[in-house]
Each structure stands twice: as structure tokens, then as C-alpha cells.
């Protein structure tokens, strides 16, 4: 390990993208989906999550630290690539570019989102339906959230493909293709769950 630091950090980066960050993302979007069933359901779910035992420790070790590590190394990885989609106009090359692009968009989005929600709650705001409703009824913020959610979900789904290849699970061209379709399906389903929630907050339907 000591002599293969780069290998270790990159594999850790890859793993953290799925466990725990990816799992947290799915959990987060699914729990928020309670908003679709009405204000009360959402408030109940949100307060359940917010009042989990050891919630601060859970947040730090399951979300903040892994995300910080993944994001910092991620930005470094983004800047070591020289994208060339114009010259090499292949699907996978585009997905490679989009993986990096959505990484940056997601970073901006998450920073904003955490400030607007978690930090405000820590400063005394109420964590409830009204907080998100207040944000998302503004059309600008609604579309900002749509872009943020789509980019995070794309980054996760395509990242899952990358994870399976980087660790050597999907090896043959056929298996890599099947995983492509599977992750595309994950992208569509999880995107629907996320966007549907945003619509519930913004339009109350």
C-alpha cells in the first residue's frame, strides 16, 4: 500500500463513489420522494432521518468525509484529462467527458444545496416541507435543482459502470455493453424519482 499510493487512492475514490456516496444518493432521493405523498409524509420521513441516533457521526462518516475525498481527488482527475471528443467522436469518449463535466456541475450543486439546507438547519431553520417548497417554487431554483439532480444521477449511474470496469467485474465487450444498458436504466429510474419530487415541491402536485 505504501508503495502503491496512487493505486490505493484511485481505487478508494472509485469505491467511495458507490459505497457510501452512491447509496446515500439513492437513499436521499427515495426518502425525499415522500413529498409526493403529501406534506405530512415528507415531514415525518425527514424528521425520522434527522433524528436518527448518532446522526452527526453518520453524516460525517457516511457523507461528508467520503464526499470530500471523492470530490477533491475528482477535481484533480478532471484536470489531468485532455478531452478530445471533437477528434474522437465515440459514445464512450463522450461519456468519459460527461463523467467529468457532471462531476464539476454536481460539486457546485452540492455545495449550494448543502449551504441552503443543512447549514441553514444547523443555524436554526426548520427542516420541513416548507423549506424545500420555499426554494423550489422559484423557477430559477427549480431548474437549477433539475440540472443538479440529473447531473448527480448521471454521474452516479455512469460512475457505476466505471466502477464495475475499474475493479474488473465487467471485462468482455459484451458484459460492458450489458452494464451500459443496466446503468442507463438506473439513470432513467433514479432521475424519475428525483425529478418527480422536485415537481411535488414546486407545483404541489
Amino acid at each position: 500500500m505504501a508503495e502503491n499510493r496512487e493505486f490505493f487512492y484511485r481505487r478508494l475514490h472509485s469505491l467511495l463513489g458507490v459505497v457510501p456516496i452512491g447509496l446515500f444518493l439513492i437513499n436521499h432521493l427515495v426518502v425525499n420522494h415522500f413529498a409526493v405523498y403529501g406534506e405530512e409524509s415528507f415531514n415525518k420521513a425527514a424528521s425520522f432521518m434527522h433524528n436518527l441516533p448518532f446522526v452527526l457521526a453518520l453524516e460525517i462518516f457516511v457523507i461528508y468525509l467520503p464526499l470530500l475525498f471523492h470530490a477533491i481527488l475528482g477535481v484533480y482527475i478532471v484536470f489531468t484529462a485532455k478531452n478530445n471528443v471533437k477528434r474522437y467522436n465515440f459514445v464512450r469518449n463522450w461519456l468519459f467527458f460527461l463523467q467529468r463535466f457532471t462531476g464539476i456541475v454536481t460539486l457546485v450543486f452540492i455545495a449550494w444545496h448543502v449551504f441552503e439546507t443543512r447549514v441553514q438547519v444547523a443555524l436554526g431553520a426548520d427542516l420541513d416541507y416548507g423549506l424545500m417548497e420555499g426554494i423550489l417554487t422559484s423557477p430559477v431554483m427549480f431548474w437549477f435543482y433539475v440540472i443538479g439532480v440529473l447531473s448527480a444521477v448521471f454521474h452516479f449511474a455512469n460512475g457505476l459502470w466505471g466502477f464495475l470496469v475499474s475493479w474488473g467485474f465487467a471485462q468482455s465487450p459484451r458484459s460492458q455493453k450489458i452494464v451500459t444498458y443496466a446503468t442507463l436504466l438506473i439513470f432513467l429510474v433514479v432521475s424519475y424519482i428525483g425529478i418527480r419530487t422536485l415537481i411535488a415541491f414546486a407545483y404541489g402536485v
Binding site: F8, R11, K82, Y88, V165, S166
Partner: protein, 254 residues
């Protein structure tokens, strides 16, 4: 009398490793079945550019002239490929020739592929058989496997896959796809297999496997059709297992 047909080349030239590149245009007389190299030979015969000024012959590299040595790679009309296998009749004119940008330019179209040979050393892409006594014949290889390995063995270190890779550049230390596939070739060989873990260690060093971001351009551009992305994923799997053995320890010799 019919007018003499010509072929136009726009060539990115560079006089020395550190000087600034510039473009120069040449018109050379057309012949049937010309390739890019025969065009460059015409320029060498009569180094006068399109403006009629006396110039210097354009420098390029070559060896086999049959797409097996890899020395003559350059970027032709935006595509990295072998100039000996690039037929003028199949190219759009004017034909643009540039050196491959991933490698240091020695002069004009001549580049230095040393980094590829260094990478082959890093992953120990050979089979050590030297000893102080005769080791006798090695284990035999099944014919099916030999045919499969032959495909991987076609790599000519031409550098085209490195040129197409977005992660091989001056900001990264990634060794590129070709040496990874070579490590797989030698690890699959019945004698080479005896040193498999040493090659995996090489792949796990700085600039190794983890430099790959799966853009998969390499497999699209390799002139030999080598399944580079399959090789990379296969080595990813082997390195994963090797790293677990290194970390947790293993009873199996490795």
C-alpha cells in the same frame, strides 16, 4: 498535353525539439497508388514548397513499410495512423500531416516513443529465461490460446492508442493502453505466467492501470484491432485480486 496532376500536403514542421512548429505546404507530382511516404519521398527529392521557395526535406521515421513496425505513425487528416499504410487515393486533399502530439518531437514528423519502451520496462513485458544452467523446455501452450495470444502480440508500439487517449498527456503520468495489454499477453504465456505478479506490481505503480478512465478511444483506433479495453479490464481484475493478496496476505505463492 494533359496537365500534371499534383497532391498537396500541408505539413506541421519543427526544426528542433525546442523550436516553434510551423505549417508548410508542398505540391508533389501525383503517381498512381501513392502512399503518404512516397509523397514525403518526393518532397525529399525536390524540397521546394508551394510558394516556389527552396526549403529543407521533411524528416519522418519509417522502417518496415508494411504496417508492422509502428515507426511511421503520424496524424494524417486528424487521424493518428501509419503513413506507410495511408494511401493518397483514399485521402481527402489537401493532406494534413502532423506529428503525434502525445510524444516529444525530434524533428518535423519524427517523434520520440521512448516513454512507451520505458512503460514496457515498468510492466516487465518480457519473459525472463536467462539462468546459469539450461532450464529445459517450458510448458506448452494450447493451440487455441496461442491463436488468442497472437492477436495481442501484434502490438507494434506505434503509439496511436496513446495519442487517442484523453488521459495520456503532459499533465498525467499514465503509461497508456499498449503496455497494459502487453502485460496481459506475457501473463497469459505458460512461462511468462511464472512472473505474473511482478507485472501486476508494475501495473499498480505510479502511472499504471488506475490512470485509465475508460474513454475507450484506444480500442477504436488501434490499427491492429487489439482488444485493448478488454485487456485493461482483465488487468484491473487481476490487480484487484493481487492487491487483496498484498494487503491481507495469502497462503498461495504469488
Amino acid at each position: 498535353m494533359a496537365e500534371q496532376k499534383t497532391v498537396t500536403f500541408i505539413i506541421t514542421r519543427q526544426d528542433s525539439p525546442d523550436s516553434t512548429p510551423y505549417d508548410e505546404t508542398f505540391n508533389v507530382p501525383y503517381r498512381k497508388n501513392m502512399n503518404v511516404i512516397s509523397g514525403l519521398m518526393e518532397i525529399r527529392k525536390n524540397p521546394v514548397n508551394a510558394k516556389g521557395e527552396k526549403s529543407t526535406p521533411v524528416a519522418w521515421d519509417m522502417n518496415c513499410l508494411e504496417e508492422v513496425c509502428g515507426a511511421c505513425s503520424m496524424v494524417i487528416n486528424g487521424v493518428p495512423r501509419q503513413s506507410c499504410a495511408a494511401l493518397v487515393d483514399e485521402l481527402e486533399q489537401p493532406i494534413r500531416l502532423e506529428p503525434m502530439s502525445t510524444f516529444p518531437v525530434v524533428r518535423d514528423l519524427v517523434i520520440d516513443r521512448e516513454r512507451m519502451f520505458d512503460a514496457l520496462k515498468q510492466v516487465k513485458a518480457w519473459i525472463p529465461i536467462d539462468g546459469s544452467y539450461d532450464l529445459g523446455p517450458g510448458p506448452r501452450m494450447p493451440e487455441k490460446k496461442r491463436q488468442w495470444a497472437y492477436e495481442l502480440s501484434k502490438c507494434m508500439t506505434c503509439g496511436v492508442c496513446l495519442e487517442a487517449c484523453p488521459n495520456v498527456n503532459d499533465k498525467s503520468n499514465f503509461i497508456g493502453p499498449a503496455p497494459i495489454s502487453q502485460a496481459r499477453l506475457f501473463n497469459a504465456h505458460p512461462t511468462g505466467e511464472m512472473n505474473a505478479s511482478e507485472r501486476l506490481e508494475g501495473l499498480m505503480e505510479e502511472g499504471g492501470l488506475v490512470g485509465c478512465g475508460n474513454a475507450q478511444n484506444c480500442v477504436q483506433v488501434c490499427p491492429k484491432g487489439i482488444p485493448l479495453t478488454t485487456s485493461i479490464a482483465a488487468m484491473n481484475r487481476a490487480a484487484t485480486i493481487q492487491s487483496f493478496k498484498n494487503f491481507f496476505g495469502s497462503d498461495n505463492a504469488h
